[in-house]
């Protein structure tokens, strides 16, 4: 394999792994803040215990997110030096702003929160976790603006042989960036909701800590329901935006080969990229694709054949990622609605609890499919329409990248196993009882 392919695989592995941990950080920080605020306002100890129990899982998860984040920032320089040189004026600034404005705040106050259970008043402690929630979400905001710029570059001029910033406001306010932000944050909140519901379900199935986990479940199901609704509505608008600005991605995610007016949507199809057609097409809904993409049953949708083969993304990957993500999205909506309706008697519905338990991994899958669609669907471009991925890679020896890629796989696999083992073993233990809690040292909840 060459440097380009290895670098792509390495970056994909590093981002996919990183994003196994990011969404729970984004969502759980908010839920922890809500729990602690509820504790401050009502004085109900159970909410404080909830924040402690879920907070421990949060810290394990957070640690892996943090340590795997740095390699991403640095890989732009190590593996994608020509990209960095070409767009650093804009893209680099967004990353630097993220570190300065958000990540410092997050990293500093997470320690205050983790070590502050006894040193801070409940109110101050709640403020600390609100700062963590705010800054981690703000961090995502800047990173997603940077990613949206790769999907749809705006606010730049090509000068001195590179892309230079012309209008920062245009970069920050472009609609595609906001679609991406709402979409990704909602996905993170859905994942968090399902994570909490799944773990709660495990305990409720065993009839242990019922009040505690029922409260957790009810909080999580409302959170999840709100954001599944947001996601489904927004996902539709998001798709419309993709249709407008990334026609090759749209054609690939629908596996549409021929340019068509009133293009149909197929309930089932199997792409056959080698022959530039679909092997199976079944259940056509006439005009539905035109309607979904452009809000007009007769609108023309560009097919893949309208673009040179060298400008098309890998069709099967893009198509499957999109379908899987959408199917899962609707599944989350249905399950969240049922869970919400039954939220007050949830412990009496073992079958439903099992559904929630086994649904824990699904939002993770959906989130990764979403990124696969976003990133693979953007190919062959690293910056859509501006720079090809093949022109972005560093002039470095493939052997170097092969070694580092192997190291990434080994180290990350190990980290993943350890982290999920720790999270699961803590989750099944359940909340510590009051007597143990009051005797617990600060460090027990903190880091070391």
């Amino acid at each position: 394999m060459d440097t380009l392919m290895l670098s792509r695989l390495q970056f994909a592995a590093a981002t996919f792994f990183h994003f196994l941990f990011v969404p729970l950080t984004l969502g759980l920080s908010v839920l922890l803040a809500i729990m602690e605020t509820t504790y401050v306002r009502t004085g109900n100890e159970e909410y404080r215990n909830m924040a402690r129990f879920w907070g421990k899982i949060f810290l394990i998860n957070f640690a892996i997110g943090v340590v795997t984040g740095i390699t991403l920032e640095f890989q732009f320089g190590t593996n994608w030096s020509r990209y960095s040189e070409y767009v650093g004026d804009i893209f680099g600034s967004l990353l630097a702003i993220e570190a300065t404005v958000a990540f410092f705040l997050e990293s500093t106050f997470i320690a205050v929160w983790a070590f502050g259970w006894k040193r801070l008043s409940p109110k101050a402690h709640a403020v600390a976790i609100w700062l963590v929630a705010l800054s981690s979400n703000l961090s995502a905001f800047w990173i997603l603006i940077a990613n949206a710029w790769m999907q749809h570059p705006v606010g730049f001029v090509i000068r001195n042989g590179r892309a230079e910033l012309d209008d920062l406001l245009a970069v920050i306010t472009q609609p595609f960036a906001w679609y991406t932000i709402v979409h990704t944050l909602s996905a993170a909140y859905i994942l968090t909701g399902f994570f909490l519901m799944g773990v709660s379900a495990w305990h409720l199935l065993r009839k242990q800590h019922v009040s505690f986990f029922k409260k957790s479940f009810r909080l999580a199901v409302s959170f999840a329901l709100i954001f599944t609704i947001v996601e489904v509505v927004q996902g539709h608008m998001h798709g419309g935006e993709v249709a407008k600005i990334q026609p090759t991605k749209l054609a690939a995610m629908e596996s549409l080969w021929e340019t068509k007016k009133s293009a149909p949507q197929y309930l089932f199809l199997i792409p056959d990229p080698d022959n530039e057609r679909n092997a199976v097409e079944f259940g056509a809904i006439p005009g539905a694709l035109s309607m979904l993409a452009f809000h007009d049953f007769s609108a023309e949708v560009k097919g893949l054949k309208a673009f040179a083969p060298s400008e098309r993304p890998p069709v099967t990957f893009t198509f499957i990622s999109f379908r899987a993500m959408v199917v899962l999205g609707f599944y989350f909506l249905v399950v969240a609605i049922i869970g919400w309706i039954r939220r007050n008697t949830i412990e009496d519905h073992p079958a439903l609890l099992k559904v929630f338990l086994f649904s824990i991994p699904l939002p993770y899958l959906a989130a990764e499919f979403g990124w696969m669609l976003a990133e693979v669907g953007r190919q062959p471009w690293v910056v859509y329409g501006m720079m090809k991925t093949s022109n972005a890679v560093s002039a470095i020896a493939g052997s170097q990248v092969a070694i580092s890629f192997a190291a990434f796989v080994l180290v990350y696999t190990f980290l993943g196993i350890v982290a999920y083992y720790l999270m699961w073993s803590h989750a099944r233990k359940g909340p510590a009882d009051e007597a143990a809690l009051s005797g617990e040292a600060d460090e027990e909840v903190g880091y070391a």
Binding site: V66, G88, S107, R119, E443
Partner: protein, 347 residues
């Protein structure tokens, strides 16, 4: 002018990173040699626990600022130092995880495993940052197209290795002083003794390195042109001497601050000597990347300067607050930093 301001900020970010995370790197390197019992190990971990993550963000910011202000330097430097940089990053990953996860395992074997990761994860970067910076001072094999013509092993030249040894010693002394501040009893005594003894090795290494620098690099040129700049190395010497005096008086916090000042002035001495070069080519000085030929557009530099001027002081303010908030040692002993530190309720 903007380019020069950003060059200075670039150097300052690295200096602050080394002064802060330096004590984590040093303590981690030192840990197996001073912490004997489980409770001592706990103190070692707790002396870094609340800080390491916030400290590491200075590195991320230094990287981000290189990317934003000098994208070409970022591209060439990071791809040239590929293996060294990834080694550093893997080390930082495992030390972070060791720091966070160790206490969650109760078995001795697992804890030993995390202890060794803590050691390698801190010693590795301490050494490699030194090797990398010495090579940056000296220049690396960058060709006309900004492509590195050497390997990882070309960095391991005598001057590079000297830099590695110097940095490692600097960080170990820095770390042992921090540990002396944050611990009590035997451990405090041992940490203080390490600082006192290694100070001489550090001073010797610094003198040798300065001599080798005269032979291997052009770092002194700027100082000979603008002699007033010699105030930076003089401050470094003063800080080094001050460190010894405070160590003798067992004033650990003051000694630590002297050490921090030493690290900052040493870094600034090196970076100041490189100006305006960010990346020196040892093949031909015409291939050097400078603050001027590798910088971002004036608009980006201006916007980023505004961001930095607003947010960096805020960051410094809340990080100081957090340091003061935790300014008591974790396992008994006297409060370390000032009288206004908040009171800790004993657990």
């Amino acid at each position: 002018m903007l380019e020069t301001i950003w060059f200075a900020l670039w150097g300052i970010l690295w200096a602050v990173y080394f002064a802060l995370d330096g004590f984590d790197l040093g303590i981690g390197t030192l840990a197996p040699f001073v912490a004997r019992s489980e409770s001592e190990k706990r103190i070692v971990y707790n002396s870094m626990g609340p800080y390491w993550n916030g400290n590491e963000v200075w590195l991320i910011t230094a990287g981000g600022v290189t990317f934003a202000a000098f994208p070409k330097t970022y591209a060439v430097m990071f791809s040239s130092l590929y293996s060294a940089l990834l080694l550093i990053l893997f080390c930082l990953i495992v030390r972070g995880v060791a720091m966070e996860f160790r206490s969650r395992f109760s078995s001795g074997a697992w804890r030993k495993f995390w202890d060794s990761l803590l050691w390698i994860g801190n010693f590795g970067p301490a050494l490699l940052f030194g090797v990398a910076f010495a090579n940056l001072f000296r220049g690396i094999l960058i060709d006309r197209a900004g492509i590195y013509q050497g390997t990882l092993f070309s960095l391991l030249n005598p001057y590079g290795l000297m830099g590695g040894i110097l940095f490692t010693l600097i960080f170990i002394v820095h770390g042992s002083l921090w540990l002396a501040v944050k611990s009590a009893g035997d451990l405090k005594e041992r940490a203080g003794r390490v600082a006192g003894r290694l100070w001489f090795a550090l001073a010797a290494a610094a003198v040798v390195f300065l001599g080798a620098t005269y032979i291997s690099t052009h770092l002194y040129d700027n100082y000979l042109i603008v002699p007033v700049l010699f105030v930076i190395p003089l401050a470094a010497v003063a800080a080094l001497v001050g460190m010894l005096l405070f160590i003798r008086q067992a004033k650990w916090l003051k000694a630590w601050f002297s050490s921090a000042l030493f690290i900052i002035t040493v870094t600034l001495f090196g970076v100041g000597g490189m100006y305006p070069n960010l990346l020196i080519s040892s093949i031909d000085s015409r291939f050097n990347l400078t603050a001027f030929n590798s910088s971002s557009s004036p608009l980006t530099l201006k916007i980023m300067l505004a961001v930095a001027l607003i947010f960096v002081p805020i960051v410094i303010a809340y990080q100081i607050w957090v340091y003061r908030f935790f300014a008591m040692n974790f396992n008994g002993g006297e409060a370390a930093a000032g009288k206004s530190a908040p009171k800790m309720k004993t657990a």
